[in-house]
């Protein structure tokens, strides 16, 4: 089509005028939506979303309606019907048309069509890219998660099969497709978040699928592309998006009432999302803070501004009205110009009348708007009053509920008061105009519903709080356990160093015992003493450190690395309970660095395989024996701490069943003596005593009480060195008992004695010192 023909075509003119009319139509629709949202302030996000969506769909309807009217209605007679048939003011066909002021609607239509093509092709490219994400860079999620997704889909009532994929291209979780929906999770999300958090996110995505939000989003894209020039269209679109997310959040909270888990998941996802892909063109972000505030029931800080909004809505409506008046005027004038002169006078008269009528109806409309606004204002105010009253009572109720479980009588009283207040309010409404009364009754009904909701919410909050308390207790226990582990680990480091020194020293001792040369003997003794002193100093500083640390660190929670905090509870249990006494510091560090559950599973398998007495065999005697010991300890040694964590449990799990148990539970201080014939790395005839002074069943490993005589004590590092010392002391005729030290694994406490009188004690001490040891008197 040639440009001059297009510019004079009736379709182009009608399009241009319809576009101009659309300016005020969209503004009116936006104003109406704004008013509807104000009135429905307490309604669900689902209702608000539907209102916004209806408004959004009304936009193209209004536009096509106007276009049809302009093309086929009363004005059509005034316009030439076939292109090329010259209008009054166009020159003969063939000549280029002059720049006529009457062409401007056609010019507008031309620019608009260019814009629509640009926007729509961009949208199409975007859609193709999104659709390709269901195939590109994806891999099926683990079967376990597919299974869980099916359960969740049933709960959300999604009947179509949903595929769960991990994607390396998606930076946030996405729901794509309507007929064959898929959920894309960014790589690492399934393993990085806790199972509860992943479930909450999956429910959100399933809610999108159930609500067909993908289709809605495509339709929105089309509408935005068509009416790209109008800010009101973008605003309506933004409302649809916001309320859509709120509605899906509501579905999540309905199924998983602990909003904290979900809110934390959203915040974590937002934080972990990679910054590489900047989707800067999108302007619909920034509402995550509002959403989380809403999830956690925090009042928005801009609440005060709500007072002004009815006035704002009114102003919008007035602006729309003014725009109507302004736009009708030039449109009418251009019609007059386009009419042949013979009919011009007639048309002018008719149009004058039209204008008069339009003005009159506009006036009426304005008055009506003003009236409605006033009514709206009145209704809104009384609604606010009722709401404030109810909120006040609801707050009191919640407080009372939170205060104590014993406050239920008080609650009932308050509830009664609230209901009474409601009754009073109802009574005070009598005598108002019927319309207002009806609105207020509606408001009251809503308020009552809110009250009930608030009551229910406070009940669930109470339940949630006690659940959380239990969780926190568990977390505290775990933290304490980890603290203990950490202490052990550090101590192990220090001790390993000293072990070497001691080994050197005892080697030297043996050399010395066999050496003849006096000089050599003297230097060796010197070396031995030096090593012994170093060892004792180190052991003392260890004790000090441990004491200090337990004094200062106990109340604080140990800082934990992020991935450890996110570790699934099954792995945490394995690490801190199942193999707490087996795992080496190096293995522990390696395990903490693992990122996926698959890696952890493999690590655990290899962990046991390394300890398998017959490598490669399907059965692992070591693992079986270890779990048997764990089960035995938990069954028999449980007291204030689980059996595996008690002193007896620790010894039993580490060294197996003792060869002999002497039970003295009937004595004034209940006691158990355990004897091991041999412990690898510790020596022969190891005796350990457990005391239960509180008679609570908590037997503690302790040095013997002083009443049974005095002991001389030595510190040694478990392993070859300790074996050598106890061996040489025993061969020297000293009565020796070696204890593994409570709270300091890796260290052995060698007690020499008991000696009942000071003289024999001094003699033994002198003999020991002569042999190169530096014993101290036991407490």
């Amino acid at each position: 089509m040639r440009l001059d023909l297009w510019l004079t075509a009736p379709l182009a003119h009608a399009l241009g005028r319809a576009l101009l009319d659309f300016l005020w139509e969209a503004a009116l629709l936006a104003g109406a939506l704004r008013a509807a949202l104000q009135l429905g302030a307490g309604r669900s996000a689902r209702w608000r979303h539907q209102a916004a969506l209806a408004c959004s769909l009304a936009l193209p309807l209004a536009f096509t309606g106007t276009l049809a009217l302009l093309l086929g209605g009363g004005h059509a007679a005034a316009l030439p019907l076939t292109p090329g048939q010259p209008m009054v003011f166009t020159p003969a066909p063939g000549g280029s048309p002059p720049a006529s002021p009457a062409d401007w609607p056609a010019w507008i239509a031309s620019f608009w069509m260019g814009g629509v093509m640009l926007f729509c092709s961009l949208r199409l490219a975007g859609w193709l890219r999104i659709d390709s994400m269901r195939r590109r860079g994806v891999c099926a999620a683990p079967a376990e998660w597919q299974r869980r997704l099916r359960t969740l889909a049933d709960a959300v009532r999604v009947s179509r099969p949903v595929v769960l994929l991990e994607s390396c291209l998606a930076s946030v979780p996405l729901a794509i497709g309507y007929w064959r929906p898929v959920i894309l999770m960014p790589l690492g999300t399934l393993a990085g978040l806790s199972a509860e958090q992943v479930e909450a996110i999956l429910i959100h995505e399933l809610a999108h699928i159930r609500r067909a939000d993908y289709l809605v989003s495509l339709a929105q894209g089309l509408i935005e592309g068509l009416f790209f020039f109008h800010p009101a269209v973008w605003w309506i679109s933004a409302v649809v998006r916001t309320e859509r997310e709120y509605a899906c959040d509501d579905v999540v909270v309905a199924l998983r009432p602990d909003a904290r888990v979900y809110a934390a998941a959203l915040a974590t996802l937002e934080q972990c999302r990679r910054p590489a892909v900047q989707l800067a063109a999108a302007a619909n972000g920034g509402n995550l803070v509002r959403r989380i505030r809403r999830l956690l029931d925090e009042p928005a800080p801009e609440r005060a501004s709500r007072r002004r909004t009815p006035a704002l809505a009114g102003a919008l409506v007035l602006v729309a009205g003014a725009a109507t008046a302004l736009l009708f005027w030039p449109a009418a004038r251009s019609f007059a110009q386009a009419t042949p002169p013979a009919e011009a006078a007639q048309a002018a008269r008719e149009q004058d009348r039209d204008i008069e009528e339009t003005k009159r109806s506009l006036d009426e409309l304005e008055q009506k708007f003003a009236r409605e606004e006033k009514q709206l204002h009145g209704a809104k105010e009384s609604l606010d009053q009722a709401q404030q009253l109810i909120e006040g009572h609801a707050a009191e109720l919640e407080k009372a509920l939170a205060d104590a479980g014993s406050g239920s009588a008080q609650q009932e009283e308050q509830l009664r008061q609230a209901e009474q207040a409601l009754q009073e309010l109802k009574a005070s409404q009598a005598g108002r105009p019927e319309e207002l009364l009806r609105q207020q009754q509606l408001a009251l009904q809503q308020a009552e519903e809110r009250l009930q909701e608030a009551q229910k919410a406070s009940e669930t909050a109470q339940a949630g709080a006690s659940q959380q308390l239990a969780q926190q207790k568990r977390a505290l226990e775990e933290a304490q356990e980890q603290l203990r582990q950490l202490k052990t680990r550090e101590l192990d480091e220090i001790l390993r160093l000293q072990q070497k020194q001691i080994a050197d020293a005892s080697q030297a001792l043996e050399q010395w015992q066999g050496a003849d040369d006096a000089k050599q003997r003297a230097t060796l003794q010197q070396r031995l003493e030096q090593a012994q002193r170093q060892l004792e100093g180190a052991a003392q500083s260890c004790c000090r450190e441990t004491a200090e640390r337990s004094a200062t660190d106990e109340p604080q929670e140990m800082p934990r690395p992020q991935n450890r905090a996110e570790l699934a509870s099954a792995y945490r249990k394995w690490l801190n309970e199942d193999v707490a006494y087996l795992i080496t510091a190096r293995e522990r560090a390696a395990f903490a660095a693992l990122e996926t559950d698959a890696e952890r599973d493999r690590f655990i398998e290899q962990f046991w395989q390394r300890r398998n007495p017959t490598p490669g065999a399907a059965e692992n005697a070591f693992k079986e024996e270890h779990y048997r010991r764990l089960a035995y300890a938990n069954e028999h040694f449980a007291g204030s701490v689980p059996g595996w964590r008690s002193d007896r449990g620790r010894l039993y799990i580490t060294y197996g069943p003792p060869d002999e148990i002497d039970d003295h539970s009937g004595e004034s201080v209940p006691r158990q003596d355990w004897r091991y014939v041999h412990i690898e790395g510790l020596g022969y005839d190891i005796k350990v005593e457990f005391f239960d002074p509180g008679k609570t069943g908590d037997y503690r490993m302790e040095a013997a009480p002083a009443s049974r005589g005095s002991y001389l004590e030595l510190m040694a590092v478990m392993g070859d060195a300790a074996g050598a010392i106890t061996r040489s002391l025993k061969t020297g005729g000293f009565p020796v008992v070696a204890y593994p030290l409570a709270g300091r694994p890796g260290m052995v406490h060698v007690l020499v004695g008991p000696y009942s009188d000071a003289a024999s004690l001094a003699k033994a001490k002198a003999a020991l010192e002569a042999a190169g040891y530096h014993p101290t008197l036991a407490r």
Partner: protein, 130 residues
């Protein structure tokens, strides 16, 4: 083997294998094949051939210590994601696509200030519940 910063951009089929390796960790060809075929029909020999080619290109590393060779991605996924996102065409589409996306989070990344506010909100909420 080409230098690390000269690694070729993976094709779509290669990207799929890389995704499996990033998701599941080092794996044998059989494991990769079974994961892929749980989503779509795929020949074992095709996957094997692809992974051999990828080894030559340097996209994956092969551990030959065990009887069944274990493959792992030679670059972390963030690196390849950056490589893919750096594509101009990709970026032009991303802006337009973002308005059509439906998901738990907005298309625009939250600013540092917003993230800080989120943390504060959650902490305060925790404090109240305690």
């Amino acid at each position: 083997m080409p230098k690390a910063n000269e690694l070729p951009r993976p094709t779509d089929a290669e990207l799929e294998i890389l995704t499996v390796l990033w998701s599941r960790g080092p794996a044998t060809v059989r494991e990769v094949h079974s994961t892929i075929s749980s989503r779509r029909a795929a020949q074992y020999t095709t996957v094997l051939k692809l992974m051999q080619i990828m080894t030559e290109k340097g996209l994956v590393k092969r551990d030959e210590k065990q009887r069944a060779h274990v493959y792992s991605a030679s670059r972390p996924r963030e690196w390849t994601q950056r490589q893919l996102a750096g594509d101009l065409l990709e970026r032009a589409f991303a802006g337009s696509a973002s308005r059509l996306l439906v998901g738990a989070l907005a298309a625009r990344k939250a600013s540092a200030a917003e993230l800080a506010e989120l943390r504060k909100l959650l902490e305060r909420y925790e404090g109240e519940r305690r």
